[in-house]
Symmetry: C2
Subunit: 274 residues, 2 copies
């Protein structure tokens, strides 16, 4: 376990981002074998490298979660690959601040209105998909005024988004799916294969909300059923991957949760290297 | 050029390590499409992540080149993939200390006996191949005594190895091949394709000394001629790659020099992202 014991929290966060994107085949997502035309493996890895000072800051000096998410997005926004890790930062920043899942509860309970405002400023830097029906549109300056007026903390903002966004939902349920992902990694053994297996288990049991926002809930649920068919041996994994990629169906929220799960598992001695 | 201008030296060094290993097809080496059984893509990327504090230290506080190479090897030695970047650190540490090729001359001129001793301590941590005929065997404690007795600086040690090691040779010739690699990157345009093209140009014109130490100079020269045939359109690149990988012929020293060339080119505005 040498390599895990000597890793700082910041290094675990970066390793989690790197290990997730390298694992393959991960149906529909950028991985070692697949790029999308505008978003490539190198964009994800550059983002993992460039985020380091923010994770270091969070680990050494603490700091405000909204501001840190904003700074992570700023630092990783310099390439043409777009927003690669916004969802991952929403999970990793409180994990690095708090150390582990238990620690995130204290971080989340301590968020304030300024965290929410800083988070919205980060959101505005990205091209993250928002539902048209969403009352607090991040591209609408009036949203920030509404947040201040209502006194919404960042935890309140996440609770507001939770029904439609499984990453935000982690903030409201004690990182339940992150915990499940880490447990699955331990159960599936070490290395790359365990990452793919844990990812598939979650894909087969939860509709991905990134897919739902992009293509509608019916497509997210169909993708979930197809993943379950792969696990049952009734559908070929590689063909499923090709079908997802060609239709632009990428389970990006489950990828973000997988990153958080790898971070937690590494801290519990899970072996990436076998 | 946004992404280049805001990168620190440390980040450029890490980005160079990441971009080199992701580029493909690079005949014989670990790349996005190929692992070796014991050394995989993730090992190279982990090494790029874990080296950060040493690059940060070199950039912010200077420090001794022998000690910094030692610390970089220590930090990246925790996984089972073996020595992934020893040669790259020999080039990157003076580049980060000095900023650019011109700055490395001052760094190299300033090395002393303690740098040589620390470097040998780093060497002993690795399983880097040494010629049996080599008088200063790094696995022989008497070598350090001999270095002290002769008053050899690290620059002297590199000059001693230069005839048989093209990475050490960079220290003696003003980083000539690193400079050529950076010029080739500029000439070939941006991104992944330029890295492969620059790598192939060097492989076609220089016998790789890592191959020479492992398989003999005849194999290194044959590989060079075969690379030239690829460039002349008389040999298929992908087949050449498969042949090299299956024979364990990996041009590791040219990969190290390519990393140094990417670092230099990034500092001159070369675009990795296109």
């Amino acid at each position: 376990m040498k390599q895990n014991l000597v890793m700082s929290r910041a290094e675990r966060a970066q390793m989690a981002m790197m290990l997730e994107v390298c694992a393959y085949p991960k149906p529909g997502n950028v991985d070692r074998c697949h790029d999308y035309p505008d978003t490539r493996l190198e964009h994800f890895l550059a983002s993992a490298i460039m985020a380091r000072p923010v994770f270091d800051e969070a680990e050494r000096n603490g700091g405000r979660v909204g501001r840190l998410i904003h700074d992570a997005v700023m630092r990783t926004n310099g390439h043409s690959g777009g927003n690669t890790h916004f969802g991952a930062f929403i999970l990793l920043v409180p994990l690095v601040l708090g150390g582990d899942i238990k620690g995130t509860r204290r971080v989340i309970a301590g968020t304030d209105v300024q965290d929410a405002v800083d988070f919205y400023a980060a959101f505005a830097l990205t091209s993250v998909r928002v539902l048209k029906s969403d009352e607090l549109d991040v591209n609408d300056p009036a949203s920030v005024a509404a947040i201040r007026e209502r006194g919404m903390t960042l935890a309140d903002v996440m609770a507001y988004s939770a029904p439609r966004d499984m990453v935000a939902r982690e903030w409201t349920n004690g990182f339940a799916l992150t915990r499940r992902c880490a447990d699955l990694l331990h159960a599936h053994g070490c290395g790359r294969g365990a990452i793919v297996a844990a990812f598939m288990d979650i894909l087969a049991s939860e509709p991905d909300t990134f897919i739902a926002k992009k293509h509608g809930m019916a497509v997210a649920e169909r993708t979930m059923r197809q993943a379950a068919e792969v696990l049952a041996g009734r559908r070929d994994l590689v063909t499923f991957d090709v079908d997802c990629v060609s239709a632009g169906i990428n389970p990006g929220s489950i990828a973000d949760i997988t990153i958080a799960g790898i971070y937690v598992a590494l801290g519990e001695g899970w072996q990436w290297d076998c």
